[in-house]
């Protein structure tokens, strides 16, 4: 085994200027703590450590998660990669050894070290590494590995500092995992709710799922942020959740609705918003649920909003909801073909639909109609 230098933290804290640098680093660590995005956290960490140790790449492998996140330095930023099925924490790998040692572990010369290394190590030409265990109290969370392309010396002080920052990172990662796990749990419940509505109505089964996927594809063409895509995912999955409050006899009526019955159906966006109002992480999705039946010309419901008064994500949802609804069978009509539906969308530009969003959707139409096998009308 070619492990060089395992350091005890207390013996290696720097003095003087270096102490100021550490204070500055801990300050930067606040950014790490506040980030919920693990990739961003790792990037912050990579930047923060650069004044203390050469960082050609940094990777994060968490216990119990199959993927390893690798960030490889490219000039002033990092290029990221996900390694599926990473083995750096399997038995007798360098990661496991570092975790068990409980301190940052330097491998000065990868070429002569007695471990198997992932394929990216030789691909990227890494010569040395520092494996930093992440622990929160007694809990072993995983390791962060700093890779160096040159066998540069890594000082005792650098390793001590890396330890300090690792504990901050461990807290950040744990926090972010907890938040994401909570959200995932809540969202599974919420997806179950959406599925429950659809279970009672075979005509709409899979509708929310398809609308959500189409909506994400369409919204991405406008360069929306990850946060907005997440909001859209929640909103589109739940856009019809209000139908749970609507009498089934009306929802599944095989004939034309009376004016009164239509007024009842028109309540579903407001009912839906009311349902998700109580759920903290779904607040950003309320506009999508409430406004997905607004029309660009102001003649929609519930609020009669017009053009850009209608939230952008709701305008996106509106087009894809319409497309999926018309290309599906309903109790009162057969599905229209993709071509016919596309024609209706074209005719609805400016009246029902936002022209820019609808046009972007129509760009997708050759691919849709070429492959559609839905019954023609």
């Amino acid at each position: 085994m070619q492990i060089t230098e395992q350091h005890q933290l207390e013996q290696s804290l720097p003095a003087g200027q270096a102490r100021t640098d550490v204070a500055d680093l801990l300050d930067k660590s606040k950014n790490i703590l506040e980030s919920l995005d693990i990739r961003a956290t790792l990037e912050q960490l990579g930047h923060a450590l650069t004044s203390f140790v050469r960082v050609d790449a940094i990777s994060l492998k968490l216990n119990g998660i199959t993927e390893e996140l690798l960030l490889v330095r490219q000039n002033d930023s990092f290029k990221h990669e996900t390694i599926f099925g990473s083995k750096i924490m399997s038995a007798a790998s360098f990661g496991r050894v570092a975790l068990e040692a409980g301190v940052p572990t330097l491998i000065e010369d990868i070429a002569t070290a007695d471990f198997t290394f992932p394929a990216y190590v030789s691909r990227e030409g890494f010569k040395s590494l520092v494996a930093v265990p992440l622990r929160n109290g007694k809990r072993e969370m995983g390791i962060i590995t700093i890779y160096l392309r040159e066998a540069a010396p890594v000082s005792a002080e650098a390793l001590a500092i890396v330890s300090i920052v690792a504990s901050v990172t461990a807290a950040a990662v744990e926090h972010s995992q907890m938040v994401r796990r909570m959200e995932a749990n809540y969202f599974s419940t919420v997806e179950a709710l959406a599925a429950a509505i659809e279970a009672k109505d075979p005509y709409t089964r899979g509708h929310s799922k398809r609308v959500t996927q189409f909506a994400i594809v369409l919204a991405e063409r406008f360069g929306v942020s990850d946060a907005e895509l997440r909001t859209l995912q929640y909103g589109a999955t739940l856009h019809d959740v209000g139908k749970i409050g609507i009498d089934e006899k009306i929802l599944n009526k095989p004939d034309k609705l009376t004016a009164e019955e239509f007024e009842v159906i028109k309540q579903h966006p407001v009912i839906g918003e009311h349902i998700i109002e109580r759920v903290d992480f779904l607040q950003s999705a309320r506009p999508v649920v409430r406004s997905h039946h607004e029309r660009f010309d102001g003649t929609g419901y519930p609020d009669g909003l017009r053009d850009e008064e209608i939230p952008f994500l709701a305008r996106v949802c509106c087009v894809v909801d319409f497309y999926d609804a018309l290309t599906s069978d309903r109790p009162y009509r057969m599905a229209f073909s993709a071509d016919t539906t596309i024609q209706y969308i074209r005719e609805g530009i400016g009246s029902i639909f936002d022209p820019v969003i609808a046009s972007e959707f129509l760009e997708m139409s050759p691919a849709l109609s070429a492959m559609s096998q839905v019954a023609k009308v």
């Binding site: 599926f84 994400i216 492959m371």
Partner: protein, 123 residues
Amino acid sequence: MSRGKVLVVDDEEYIQHILNFSFGAEGYDVVTAGDGEEGIRKAKSEKPDIIVLDIMMPKMDGYEACRRLKTDPHTKNIPVILLTAKGREVDRKLGSQAGADDYMVKPFSPGRLIERVEGMMKR
């Protein structure tokens, strides 16, 4: 000039449509299959550069199709990305054990998927 050929294996048409569009827009050719058996047949006949594979499919599921693709000398070197609604850690582990090269959950962002595909094709 095509950037490569993608084989999409998914029983749901709307996913085939979306991937046909998203990959097509980036200059890739797309061929499709509706279940695991057809997926393996097309992997051999079409020789794609990458396979996007759903898990929940009739006749043969994605795990089984992946295992077979990865043990057959004609197809074992084609990278496989599992694209599936099943996103729990246990599902990912099963995917890794079946020999998949990557894993993405639906609903997916086409941009992210294409990023991963491009990364895999470079190697």
